[in-house]
């Protein structure tokens, strides 16, 4: 019993150390050898551009739901004019970064793990090492850089589309004054709100690339190993995004 507990504890501490080292080494490599611009652009296309459709779709419906819920809640207090503020602040501070990151995790995070995992089990990573090349330069750092740039941009698109989704429901369907919708929004949203959204989505980009690459890099044997790594990657990334969001919000508020 005590032995088993000790084994689990040592294993957990070792895994945490390995995960932390992976992140530190990735940043070291970003500074030392960031990879070729072509590779980074390819990854930005994969993580960013190819996620656009799902981001726009999610953002539009999130904004529309916020418009609907916000309108009926504010109507109870006769403050329908504040709908623009409610929608914009919810999206810019919280929902935009978090939902955009969760969507990218499902679409690109899982694919990153599967790609690197398959390269691991088919000895392609070993082949890079035997050529005296650092696999991080080719497989990890371009994905980190691409995710750190793409996530804030996707989050900005999410916010804008979401605000117009709220406008569609609030102004066009429910009759809120269009001037009030945007005027109240402009009055209430300050630079600090935008800044907190950018910081959050940037750090979520780091989490997606970190866990996605780590789980793939240390994937187990065979197809089952890659499948397990992919599932673990999506679950762990999603949980980390939500936990990290809480701590970041408490600091940035």
């Amino acid at each position: 019993m005590v032995q088993a507990l000790g084994r689990v504890t040592i294993g957990t501490v070792r895994d945490l150390g390995k995960t932390g080292w992976f992140l530190l080494y990735s940043f070291y490599m970003i500074v030392r050898r960031p990879g070729s611009p072509v590779q980074i652009l390819k990854q930005m296309r994969f993580i960013g551009t190819k996620s656009l459709f799902v981001i726009v779709l999610t953002a539009a419906f999130t904004g529309m739901v916020l418009g609907l819920q916000g309108y009926y809640t504010l109507a109870k207090f006769g403050s329908e004019g504040m709908l623009g503020t409610a929608v914009a602040l919810s999206l810019i501070r919280e929902l935009g970064p978090v939902l955009a990151a969760l969507m990218v995790t499902g679409r690109a995070g899982s694919a990153i793990t599967a790609e690197i995992g398959i390269m691991r089990i088919s000895e392609q990573i070993d082949a890079l090492e035997t050529m005296a090349l650092d696999p991080f330069k080719y497989l990890v750092t371009p994905k980190f850089i691409a995710a750190m740039i793409s996530l804030p941009l996707l989050c900005a698109i999410f916010d804008v589309v979401g605000i117009y989704g709220g406008w569609l429901v609030g102004v066009k369907l429910l009759g809120v004054n269009p001037g009030a919708y945007f005027y109240e929004m402009e009055k209430s949203v300050v630079w600090r709100d935008v800044y907190s959204g950018v910081v959050k989505s940037f750090s979520f980009g780091v989490i997606i690339a970190w866990i996605g690459c780590y789980k793939g890099y240390y994937a187990g044997h065979g197809a089952e190993g890659v499948s397990r790594a992919t599932t673990e990657s999506v679950v762990l990334t999603s949980v980390l995004i939500l936990v990290w969001d809480y701590f970041l919000t408490s600091v940035l508020l």
């Binding site: 088919s122 000895e123 392609q124 070993d126 082949a127 090492e129 035997t130 050529m131 005296a132 650092d134």
Partner: protein, 248 residues
């Protein structure tokens, strides 16, 4: 020369290499033979630092590669080329890009010269007009030959072959063995081949070492091994079910 001294390696409770010592002479073809699952590929990965021993030493040209920093190890790895059991071609690249990759990353050669060397390396292994194909579009034998072209393109001092003919038909097998002999004659590298192709491997190798239960049972010329009196070596060479090696 590559020298392994008292190397131990275990995975969990399974002992794979047990106080193994072996010397691999420079400029010759050394074959490592032995039953499946006895750690031949593990031994090969120790030679290039893909695996580190639990204890013991691995020396390459008199320099230990155990516990080295990555940058230092990479300097030694530049002497090596490797053909993997599953070839390990980059599946997102064409054959041309696969063979060109080491040249692009490790040299400052102009594009035209890289193109010339890649086409020449592919031609040396008997492949033409496949440069734009992806590895998935090739047969097993063709993939092995592309892998061989990638392994020799930087003209390394040492080349490791991990079961280069596994899963190939007898004619392609013979062709790959001949190709290894021809490229060895042309470039004069040190070759280490993990194989269980008996008796073909005796025509290719100049030295043969038999690995069994984590140790080198016997090491010598092909004729020494063929005329061995050791019961396990004799059983392995004859492929007999009777003897000290129990696989089933």
């Amino acid at each position: 020369m590559i020298r392994l001294r008292n190397v131990h390696k275990s995975f969990g409770s399974q002992k794979v290499l047990d106080d193994l010592s072996l010397e691999i002479p420079e400029g010759k073809i050394t074959a490592i033979i032995g039953p499946s699952g006895e750690g031949k590929s593990v031994l090969l990965k120790h030679l290039i630092g893909l695996l580190q021993p639990d204890s013991g030493q691995v020396d390459v040209d008199g320099e230990s590669i155990v516990g080295l920093r990555r940058s230092h190890l990479n300097r030694i790895r530049e002497k090596f080329g490797m053909l993997f059991q599953n070839v390990a071609l980059f599946d997102s690249m064409t054959c041309f890009e696969n063979v060109a990759f080491p040249l692009q990353e490790k040299t400052d050669l102009p594009k035209d010269e890289i193109r010339r060397r890649v086409l020449s390396a592919l031609e040396d292994v008997g492949l033409r007009n496949i440069e734009n194909k992806f590895p998935d579009e090739l047969s097993g034998g063709m993939k092995k030959r592309v892998g061989l072209a990638r392994a020799v393109v930087l003209n390394p001092k040492i080349i490791l072959f991990d079961e280069p003919t596994t899963g190939l038909d007898p004619i392609i097998k013979r062709a790959i063995h001949q190709l290894i002999k021809d490229t060895h004659e042309k470039f004069g590298f040190t070759a280490v081949i993990v194989s269980h192709e008996i008796p073909d491997i005796f025509d290719v190798a100049q030295n043969v070492a038999m690995l069994y239960r984590g140790k080198i049972l016997q090491h010598g010329s092909p004729s020494d091994i063929k005329n061995s009196t050791h019961p396990a070596v004799r059983q392995f060479i004859s492929g007999s079910l009777d003897g000290p090696i129990h696989m089933i």
